[in-house]
């Protein structure tokens, strides 16, 4: 480990790995630190990602793709189900990854591009100079070392501390933290090409239960519920256990995963003097789906690009780094985050009767020319009782 780098990346998930790879490709000296002793574990993810987004960062490889998804199915509280197939979902089709292998591949690519990588190495404090971030004190297998850097990229995930130490308030509101649990279930009857989403205020309040195929007879079966709906006897894991007892009573749990996903708006500002925040640490998970991998990679790449320009100019102050914040906010991703936040805020108000009505209508539609907008238009015609919510939804979507 050198005493000085152009860029220090805190966190070895997809956001950090892409940031380090991009920084190294741009000719910067880059160092990525990961507090855990191995990259990719423990997995804390449902592992779904859109095909096209992924291809923008890495060539798909069977070694880390568990399943290719051709369609999605939505199940209402009353059991009505609605399917969206490949030809209608367009670019929405995707993969279920094997994050253990995927994350390692990304970090290996960062290493191959020239970045230094250190595991079991944790940032314990920023090096601050008159409020400017100048690197970090890191604990390297228990030994404290100072690592100076022009820019620190905080990619430290949902449990992010680095940005907070530098003065940014990263607190996720309780109601906007999805409390999640997931099992990898083996030996279950599933369609290996379809993701299934179960909705209902009884089974998953303000969230959903997912079944994401991991191959033949194997799936990630998980749940996310709003933090404000979580309490003793009614926690994510307990609700998931109830669902599994009903739906997959013979499934064998080969992995137990828990985690938190933010569904709040992103941090109001994702840069400071010498600091950039990416991915889940910047609260950039999609508020509608909870997906975070794509946005972490997108912002990791953008951040490293802007860092390279700023370092080239010799100015890594907040105003110089602000181009990163502007870039992601005005991107397709940034706009979709805001749109999906507003859709989520409407969705969480729907009671089970309304969720049933929505999915019943959807299941009766001829979805040849499917788009969410045409679906909402059709719903407005057929569900006069829901006109208010649907009007709001239509206003967000159009």
């Amino acid at each position: 480990m050198k005493r000085r780098y152009d860029v220090l990346v805190v966190g070895g998930g997809p956001g950090g790995a892409i940031a380090a790879r991009t920084a190294a490709e741009k000719g910067l000296s880059a160092c990525l630190i990961e507090k855990r002793p191995a990259i990719g574990v423990p997995v804390r993810c449902a592992e779904g990602i859109g095909k096209e987004t992924l291809k923008g960062f890495i060539e798909p490889d069977d070694r880390w793709i568990s399943a290719e998804v051709h369609g999605a199915q939505f199940v209402a509280p009353d059991g009505t189900s609605m399917s969206v197939e490949r030809k209608m979902a367009g670019s929405k089709v995707g993969y279920i990854l094997d994050r253990k292998i995927f994350d390692r591949e990304l970090v290996w690519q960062a290493a191959a591009a020239g970045a230094d990588i250190f595991v079991k190495t944790r940032a314990v404090a920023p090096i601050l100079d008159d409020g400017r971030v100048r690197g970090a004190t890191v604990s390297f297998c228990g030994e404290d070392r100072k690592v100076e850097a022009d820019v620190v990229i905080a990619a430290d995930g949902i449990e992010s501390k680095f940005a907070r130490w530098c003065g940014l308030d990263t607190t996720v509101p309780m109601r906007e933290l999805m409390s999640c649990a997931q099992y990898v279930l083996a030996d279950i009857d599933i369609d290996p090409y379809v993701t299934v989403f179960y909705f209902g205020n009884r089974i998953a309040p303000e969230g959903y239960i997912w079944v994401f195929p991991k191959g033949v007879r194997m799936a990630n079966v998980g749940i996310g519920i709003s933090g404000r709906k979580s309490r003793d006897g009614h926690r994510a894991r307990q609700l998931l256990d109830r669902f599994i007892a009903d739906t997959f009573p013979r499934g064998k749990m080969v992995e137990c995963i828990v985690g938190g996903v933010s569904v709040c708006r992103p941090l109001p500002c994702t840069v400071a003097d010498g600091l950039m925040v990416v991915g889940d640490a910047a609260r950039l998970a999609d508020p509608m789906t909870g997906g975070g991998i794509a946005n972490a990679m997108i912002t990791g790449k953008l951040a490293a690009g802007v860092a390279a320009e700023a370092i080239g100019k010799g100015d890594v102050g907040r105003d110089s780094l602000r181009g990163y914040d502007d870039a992601w906010r005005s991107s397709v991703m940034g706009k979709s985050l805001e749109k999906n936040y507003r859709i989520k805020e409407i969705f969480i108000t729907l009671d089970d009767a309304k969720l049933n009505a929505l999915i019943q209508t959807g299941s009766r539609l001829d979805l040849k020319d499917f788009s969410v907008l045409t679906l909402v238009k059709e719903l407005m015609k057929r569900n006069p009782k829901m006109l208010l919510e649907l009007k709001n939804l239509y206003a967000v979507l159009k």
């Binding site: 507090k35 855990r36 002793p37 423990p42 804390r44 079991k120 944790r122 995930g157 949902i158 449990e159 992010s160 501390k161 907070r164 990263t170 607190t171 996720v172 509101p173 309780m174 933290l177 409390s179 999640c180 649990a181 933090g227 404000r228 979580s230 309490r231 003793d232 926690r235 994510a236 894991r237 137990c256 995963i257 828990v258 985690g259 938190g260 933010s262």
Partner: protein, 60 residues
Amino acid sequence: MLVIHRDICGYCGACVSVCPEGALELIDAYLTVDDRCTACRICTRICPLGALEVADEATV
């Protein structure tokens, strides 16, 4: 004070993200709490496993 039931904790860090004081930190598989904790109970609510509990000073 906040009690961490380590046999239950899944060391996922969800609690760290909601702590308004920044009192919690996840060090690999080990959750820590420091004296900034105000026993506000937000973390005890959102824990997916129920590993956190605010115990009465007298009973600890």
